[in-house]
């Protein structure tokens, strides 16, 4: 269970977030969509305790991970060094074996000695996800993790992220610009309005989509596009 209550944020005179309240069930996958400047990344950072919000009440499990848009890898460390980084910071045991399992899960085994600049955008993000998975987190916060990769890789990574979520059973909050991505991955999609950022709607994807398992072929179904268009329509209100 993750709770974020009474989350507000001012940057100088601009109100970025106004009294946002959000409850996420354990094991749920939530996406937050909204136009640029609606404060969705700020909301995620307040939940992560990276940005202050004095009146906010945040309740979350102990073990979490944060995945950044640009992968946030240490360029001077190899793949192996990067996948072990967070375990070093958290003082985790059995770094070697856990790293090996995680690298295998994301298909980066064999690249242990490579440096980040030698990897493609997709591989970097896989490494960033693997580095978080080794912590065995109860929740993962994802800040537009797939926005830097090309469209084809993006869909493959969405499927991989979905499998990770199924297998590792963490609670996920994903901030994204991409509505289809949000629909494909989420139990619920949270829609936010800009300045001041507020939650205007929450769409329950599970009930409106009606698919139990998300497989790549659901993207081409009419139900899927209907849900995507419905959310797009709600977002277009502020243009």
């Amino acid at each position: 269970m993750i709770e974020a209550h009474n989350v507000s944020k001012h940057f100088d005179d601009v109100q970025a977030l106004a009294e946002v309240n959000l409850d996420i069930a354990t094991g749920e996958f939530i996406s937050i969509v909204g136009p640029s400047g609606c404060g969705k990344s700020t909301l995620l950072r307040i939940i992560a305790d990276l940005v202050e919000s004095p009146d906010a009440v945040i309740v979350k499990p102990n073990k979490g991970a944060f995945v950044f848009q640009d992968s946030a890898l240490l360029p001077w460390r190899t793949v192996q060094g990067n996948v072990e980084l967070l375990m070093e910071l958290e003082g985790t045991d059995n770094k070697r074996s856990k790293a090996a399992v995680a690298l295998k899960q994301v298909g980066l085994n064999g690249f242990e000695k490579s440096y980040p600049h030698q990897l493609s955008g997709g591989m970097k993000m896989r490494l960033s996800l693997a580095r978080s998975l080794v912590l065995d987190p109860q929740y993962i916060l994802l800040d537009e993790p797939l926005s830097a990769v090309d469209e084809l890789t993006r869909e493959v990574l969405q499927e991989e992220l979905y499998d990770m979520w199924k297998k590792n059973k963490f609670t996920a909050i994903l901030v994204t610009h991409n509505i289809a991505e949000a629909v494909y991955l989420s139990n619920r999609v949270v829609i936010m309005s800009p300045r001041p950022g507020k939650i205007t709607d929450i769409v329950n994807i599970g009930s409106s989509l009606g698919f139990k398992e998300r497989t790549p072929d659901i993207r081409t179904t009419s139900k899927f596009s209907k849900v995507v268009n419905e959310i797009a329509g709600k977002l277009r209100t502020w243009k």
Binding site: F66, F68, Q69, L74, W76, L85, L86, L89, H117
Partner: protein, 254 residues
């Protein structure tokens, strides 16, 4: 290095030496403008003087360079700890750069004596600022998401410094050290000029003054060439160190 890359600068050198030689022959004033061959000969005839000078200047410049590097990185680290410290110290760091070293040098000699100590201090003063400035720039420009990643995991300042901020600043530190490599030798020569005949056995700067007084222009040139090569050697050493540390991951060495 590939042979192709060496050819263009080598060609410039040959052209330069040839025009120098021709010019020296035309004007025919060997005590003002000796030929390149005369200068080359001095390296053999005055080998002892040049080597003694080189040894002393190397000792002063190298000590100054190492101290400036360690001190510069330390001062920059202190400044990077918080904004108030940076604002309090940075103006004085700039003064290191703007102070006319040649004018201050006599004061240093007055305070610390006609000894290698004074020469080292002058070398430090001139080599310090580029290292402070570049290190500070590096320590302050750690990518934001990496800082957030470490913050998210509640990493303490000490660990963040050694695992993140310092390694991220290494390319800048190397850049600063490259600028200071030549400067430390210049500082040592300036120091030796001021000490001059006051010292018993002199470095390259002192030898230049003696040779100039004796109108031994070829020796003056040989000594200048030696001092220049010393700075160049420092630069090459730091560049190699930079390559060794950075080529696997940083754009500047790929």
């Amino acid at each position: 290095m590939e042979v192709k890359k060496i050819i263009p600068p080598l060609l410039i050198l040959v052209l330069f030496l040839a025009s120098w030689h021709i010019g020296a022959l035309i004007y025919n004033l060997p005590f003002l403008l000796p030929t390149p061959f005369a200068v080359a000969q001095t390296f053999i005839s005055d080998f002892d003087i040049i080597m003694t000078g080189l040894g002393l200047t190397f000792r002063a410049a190298f000590t100054g360079y190492i101290v400036a590097t360690i001190l510069g990185i330390t001062v920059a680290t202190i400044m990077s700890l918080n904004k108030i410290l940076e604002r309090s110290l940075y103006p004085y760091a700039i003064l290191l750069q703007t102070v006319p070293v040649v004018a201050v040098a006599p004061l240093i000699v007055l305070w610390f004596g006609f000894e290698i100590k004074s020469i080292i201090i002058i070398s430090i003063i001139i080599a310090l600022f580029p290292i402070i400035n570049n290190t500070l720039l590096g320590l302050k420009s750690t990518p934001k998401t990496l800082v957030e990643l470490f913050d998210y995991h509640g990493t303490n300042k000490f660990t963040s410094f050694f695992k993140l901020r310092f390694p991220a600043a290494i390319p800048n530190i190397i850049a600063g050290m490259k600028i200071s490599a030549g400067l430390s030798v210049i500082g040592a020569i300036v120091g030796e000029f001021i000490i001059g005949s006051g010292s018993e056995a002199g470095g390259l700067g002192v030898q230049i003054i003696y040779a100039q007084a004796d109108l031994e222009t070829a020796l003056v040139m040989a000594l200048i060439l030696t001092a220049t090569s010393l700075g160049f050697a420092f630069f090459i050493t730091v560049s190699s160190l930079g390559y060794y540390l950075l080529h696997k991951w940083h754009e500047s060495e790929q």
